[in-house]
Every structure is written in C-alpha cells, then in structure tokens.
Symmetry: C3
Subunit: 319 residues, 3 copies
C-alpha cells in the first residue's frame, strides 16, 4: 500500500513527505527501507541510527531526533496511529482462496475436518473431525491434530506434535491502542505461531499469534489443558506448563522450565533455564536459572515455605 | 402452561387457587399479571406492593404478607419449587425447526458452519468453519465469527463484533436449587446474552446466558482468552478483561474498567467506572470509580504494594 | 504384544527372562499374570507378595526383592522404560473402523455431528452440531451433548447428563517420564472417563482420561465452565465445582463437596464429604469432612477470615 494513501486515511499532511510502497509494518530492529515503524518511547531513540525503516510515526517532540534516512511522520499518538494503519495489513485467516491443500498420502484427514488454502501436511498425520486448519498452515510429519482444534492462518507445526481437542493456535494477541475518549483500537496481529518438534499441547489451550515475528514453543515442551500463551512468548525446550497457567505477552523461558498449575507471568519477563515455579506462583520479574519460586507476590520457594508459617505464629500471638 | 398443571407436578393443593395461563417465570421487578415469581428472602417482601406478578411461590411464614392482587402459593422451599418449574419454560437451543436463516448477500458462511432456525446475519460478516449459530441468533454487520465458536439460541450480536475460535456464548448459567438430601435441581436459564458494537472476544471464553433478562457486554469492550463471564453480568463500555479473568454471576462494571490476568470477582458486585484491578486481584465487594486494587484479599493497590514489603521485613526480624 | 518384542525395543537382554503375550500395562493392585507393571518407589515393595503381575520393570537395587512368581526385568529407570512401552498399548481414539454407531430412534444426531465406530447412544438424547463422539463411547438416556463437545474414545456417560459446548472429555492426562537429558517421554493413557447420571458439565471444561482405570464424576455433580479435572480424579456425588477450578491428577472428593471459583488442588489429595473450599482456595493436603477452608496457603475458613485482618492491623502499626 502506498504511504500517501495511509496518510490520507490518518488525515496527515504529506507535503513534506515522499511517497513509497509500504510493504509492511515492522519493528525498529527488523524493518527494511520499505517498512513503516513507530516510536512511542524515548528509550528507542538511541537505536534509530542502525534502523533501516523507510519511515516512522513519531511525536512532534521526538521528530527532530529521527535520522535523515528515515522519514519522520509527525502524529499526536504514534501507537494509536499505528493501530489504525495495522488494519490495512491484516491478512485473511480463513480465506477460501489459493491453492488446494497438499496432504501426504500416508496422512488421514477425517470427515468433518476443514483445510484452508495453501495448507501443507506431511507424512503420517491425522487431522481429526472438526479440526479447522487455516490458510498457509504447514504441518510436519507424524502429527495428531485432535477434534475441533483450530489453527489460524500461517501457523507452522514441526514433527510429532500432538494438539488436543479444542485448542486454538494463532488467534489474535490482545493488543490495542487507546483513544483519548477511552476507546480501544485493535492492533492487527500479522505474526504467527511456530510449534517445534515433539511438543504436546493439551485440550482447550489458547496460543496467540505474534504482532510481528513469532510466538514460539520450542521442541519437546509439554503444555497441559486450558493454558494461555500470550503473543510473542518464546517457550524454551522441554518446558512444562501445567494446567491453567497463563503467560502474558512476550514472556520468554529458558529450557526445562516448570510452571505449576494456575501459575502466571506478567509480560516482557524472562524465566531462566531449569527454573521452577510452584502452582499459583505469580512471576512479575526476570528470574535467574536453576532457581525455585512460589507465591504471590513471588518469593524464593524456601522463603515462601517459611513465610506463612512465621506469619501464622505471629498472628496467633496477637490473638 | 396452565398454573394448575404446574401445581399438579409439584403436588400442591389448588383448592384455594385460581387457574391461569402462566406465560413465563419472572422476577419481582419485571413480572406481568401472567407471570409466576418466587419469594425466598424477607428483603423482597417490601417490594411486593408494586409487583404485578399473577402469582408467587412463597413459604408458609411469609404467605400472609403477600398482597391480595398476587396469588400466594405456599411451598416448603420456594427456590426449589421454582427450579422444578423452570424446566417447563426451557427453550430448545438448537431446534432445527422454524424459518430458514436470513444472511445478507455480502456475508459469507463458510462450509462446515451451522446456522440454526430463524437466524439473521447482517452485511459483511464471516461465519467461519465449524461455528454453530443457535436458533433465533441475530448478528449485525461486519462481524467475524471465528471457527468453532458456539452461539447459543437467542444471542444478540451488534456490529463489528469479533469472537475468536472456540468461545461459547449463551451457555446455561450455573444455577441450582438444593433438595434436602443434597441433590441440585437445575434452574433453566431463559435469558440471553447481548454483545454490543465493537466488542472483541478472545478464544475459548465462556459467557453464560441470564436466568431472566440479559447478560450484556457493552460497546467497545475487549475480552482476552479463556475468560469466564457468569450469568447476568453487565460489562460496561470499553472495559478490558485480560486472560483467565473469572466473573461470578451478576457482577456489573462501569465503563473503562480494567481487570488484569486471572483476576476474579464474587457475585452481585459492582466495579465503578475506570477502576483497575491488578492481575490475580480478587474482588469481593463493591468498588468505587477511579480506584486501583490488587491482591487477595483485595486492598487498594498502594496498600497492597507496601503490605508484603512490610510483612517480609517483619518476618525477617522474627527469623 | 510379546514381552521379548518389547524388551528388544528397550535393548534389554532377555536371556534370563521367559517370553509371554503381554495383554496390558497395569498397576500393582490390578495386574493379572498377563500384565506388566513397574516399581519405582520402595513403598510399593511391601505389596508385591499379593501382586499377580506376570512381570515388573524394576531397578537393579530392588530386583532381589521381587517375589519369584513375578519376572523381574532390571532397567535403569523403571518409570521411563514404562513410558516407552506405553506407546505399544495406545488405542486409537478416532479410528474410523469398527461397527456402525447404534443410536436409539428417539435420539437426534444433528447434522455436522460426528459419531465414531462402535458408539452407542440411548433414548431421548440430542447430539448437537459439531460434537465429536469418539470410538466405543457409550451414552445413556436423556443426555444433551451440546455443540462442539469432544468425547474421546471409551468415555462412558450415564443418564440425563448435559455437557455444554466446547468441553473436552477424555483427553490424555498430563503424564511424562523424564530422560537424563531432560526430555519428557509420553505415558500413553489407556484408561477412560466415566460420567454418572444427572451430572451437568459447563462449557469449555477439560476432563482427562485415566492412565489406567478411570477418571469418574459421580452422580448429580455439577461442574461450571472452564474447569480442569486431571487424570484419575474421582469426584463424589452432588459435588459442585465452580468456574475455573483446577484439580490435579488423582484428586478425590467425598459427596457434596463445594469448591469456589478458581480454587485448585494438588495431586493425590482427598477432600472429605460436605467440605467447602472458598473461591481461590488452594488445597494441598487431605481435608476432613464437614469443614470449611480458604486461602493460599490453605487455612480453616475462620482462621483465614481473621488472618489478614490481624496482619493489616500489625502492618499499620509498623507503618
């Protein structure tokens, strides 16, 4: 889409701008000269010298700091303007156009399953009744997609992956920009979900697609039922997430992390290799590897185990 | 259904009663002269003078207090008797009888979607594979109903609403009356769910229909994945409910309320405009507007932030 | 399958073993002479004298303690070896082979529902659009299986059971053995789920099948939306589980237990008859009958109610 067409939609004066074909919205780190980005926090300004974007949405205050190789488009609220523009780049998830699906002859697609366009399915898979496989999804070999699973468009699945009934992979992440009068404007999510080899996902889970780039479940990880994985999470190899765990967007874990039932994490947090979170533990900060935690607020497990014992003794004395 | 037929089912003597055609079960506030209600708490007695119901189920103790324009039907346990009678008024959800669905020509119903009888779908909608739209559901313009969504009968959907894969709208609320020997008798839910314009609902959510009247999600609200909304909840405009939030029945919120991930509320509670609940916050009482809360038990956020810091210092001193 | 074939797969020397047809993997208590078991904890050694298994996987250390009527198969990690072998006994869930389903003439199977092989459905049932009924499932009389419910193979359903949209019954339990390098090897679950008469299950719940034997929901129990029931749980009669409750594997309850919203239990725990857990309560130990509990860590409800009141007073004094 042409930049000027987008600017017209935002009602922005283009007299100081140069038109070009905008290929996609992107991030500061990954943008190419045909991409558009936005800057809404001062901390990103430092990184602009190496940024290759063709143009950026930016506030009036920060506009003078944009290097000359990037067109500065001044808007009141860059995040909000970005959200409005994201709708132009939204891809259809279940389009019913494109090439017929390719399914290896050793794989079985049960009656009542739905395959979208340009889907590819490898050897020895079973796609069970009621499963809905969105456009351009690629599934490796030896996978079991149980009944009524939904894979949104562009999901990439490795080998020997099982996804149990009712789970949803690749739905839109929960991201909105906010207008001055309190309305929430959807940020269309054009990233995808990647599930590596030997992952098993339980029933009725939800794994959101990334804004850009990927939400990724690395090889050998095991996810129980009713687990929520937010957009852009990266789950390390051989990680175990027990039932009803909820991970906010951009949570990342190392390998062999274990999170007990109903545990949760805030967003933009890293949990180190082999670290364990007790059931119901609420992770609100980065955690080092090889440690154990529990509670809300989160404490090291040793402290948590003693904490309430001591408190109860103190309360009894008061009583 | 005739009152006497219902009384026969309950094995109640009708010699002092007058028969009439009971149109529906209802509430004290909304009943018409052809409706039946029940009184199981003394606090409702005051309001009876303005109540228009034709008859009420009532305990022997309270029977003398029923005004003469309402027939008093004496039963041991009014709530239980009501539950038994509710089955007579249960409507079929997925009936396969009635008029053919009406779908605007600009809308697309994908193969594998199911439309019930008397369904109406407006312009520019997509009903995706595996979605099941119950009888008498009405959907406005520009809506996206993603794969395997289930809308129970009578659900009313506004314009530009998106409901992501696997979400269930309009299932029965969790309401039972209890017999003396501990069995639970279902209260059939004959209300509906109304979703206003510009609402987005994530994947695998559950929104229960009302007992009477409505469960309502007001315009512009955004609901993340795996969220539970109990029967008769009213969610105010532009409210945000993050993943795994659970609202018990009859929770109401003002506008622009925010509830973080895994937060919850007890029933019959109001959360004021613009009030924010931190993730995992457990709301057990009415909350005023423009306030911030967290924790379980719930405290104002400022107090909660300091509370555990102080406790940990106190515990360390003890140690 | 022949024992020696299995040993070959595990690369185990069979020169001191006697080959036989292994009928199934089983438990110490239930094994027959044609079954194989494993011993990975010393506490099970006492019970071996009455065990009827044909053979057991066992560590070198414990091998001399195996009675002579049971063949001792020495392996490094009995649990892991067992997990590897479990794949040989995995049954197909949605096979598309076997006898045509038998459906009583008074029952209705809506278009878009899927019935597997050898399914039996009694009188006056409705199987709604998008429901997927796995092989060998038996459903009694008067049941309502709402849209997009998935019943995995071998599930047994009593009379007058309702299962609301999107719930999944009989998916694999979350059980793995672990290799030395941190990979998780699936333990195939060959047990089943049994749901007794007059049970109602809400929307988008997940109930896992047992490893061996049964996960069982006893008669009259009522389960709200988004509830997780782990493998081998036994839920007592007339029990109430409110929305978002999560029960880890092998939790058992007595009759008329009540668990409030978002409550949870660790595994291998018993909750006594008529005991009540407040919303968000975290059950980590066996609980006696007729008691009330809340909080995390769990306390008797009376203590819990006062606990935080006292703490807040203490903290205020400090401040």
């Amino acid at each position: 889409m042409r930049l000027f067409e987008m600017m017209k939609y935002l009602d922005i004066d283009t007299s100081n701008l140069k038109d070009f074909e905008v290929k996609s919205l992107s991030t500061l780190e990954e943008a190419t000269p045909s991409d558009l980005i936005y800057i809404d926090q001062d901390k990103y300004l430092d990184k602009l010298s190496t940024c290759k974007a063709g143009a950026t949405l930016v506030s009036e205050k920060n506009a003078p700091l944009i290097p000359s190789h990037i067109q500065a488009i001044v808007v009141k609220n860059p995040h909000l303007a970005f959200a409005y523009l994201s709708s132009f780049f939204a891809r259809e998830m279940f389009e019913e156009s494109g090439a017929e699906p390719k399914v290896a002859s050793s794989s079985k697609v049960m009656s009542g399953a739905y395959l979208g366009r340009d889907v590819e399915i490898g050897e020895d898979c079973v796609i069970m009744a009621g499963a809905v496989i969105g456009d351009r999804v690629k599934i490796g070999n030896g996978c079991k997609i149980f009944p009524n699973v939904v894979l949104y468009a562009d999901t990439l699945i490795g080998d020997r992956v099982s996804i149990h009934a009712g789970s949803v992979v690749g739905s839109d992440g929960f991201g909105y920009a906010h207008t001055q009068d309190g309305a929430h404007i959807k940020i269309y999510h054009n990233g995808r979900v990647v599930i590596e080899d030997d992952v098993e996902i339980g029933a009725n889970c939800t794994l959101d697609r990334a804004v850009f780039g990927e939400t990724r479940i690395k090889k050998g990880s095991k996810i129980d039922n009713l687990v929520q994985i937010g957009h852009n999470c990266i789950i390390g190899e051989h990680t175990i997430l027990v039932s009803q765990v909820g991970l906010a967007g951009s949570t990342t874990t190392g390998r062999n992390v274990v999170m007990g039932g109903q545990a949760g994490s805030g967003g933009h947090i890293h949990i180190g290799d082999f670290t364990q979170i007790a059931g119901r533990g609420a992770v609100g900060k980065n955690l080092p590897p090889h440690t154990k935690w529990g509670g809300h607020p989160l404490m090291e497990l040793d402290e948590w185990m003693k904490f309430y014992v001591t408190l109860r003794r103190m309360v009894k004395k008061q009583g």
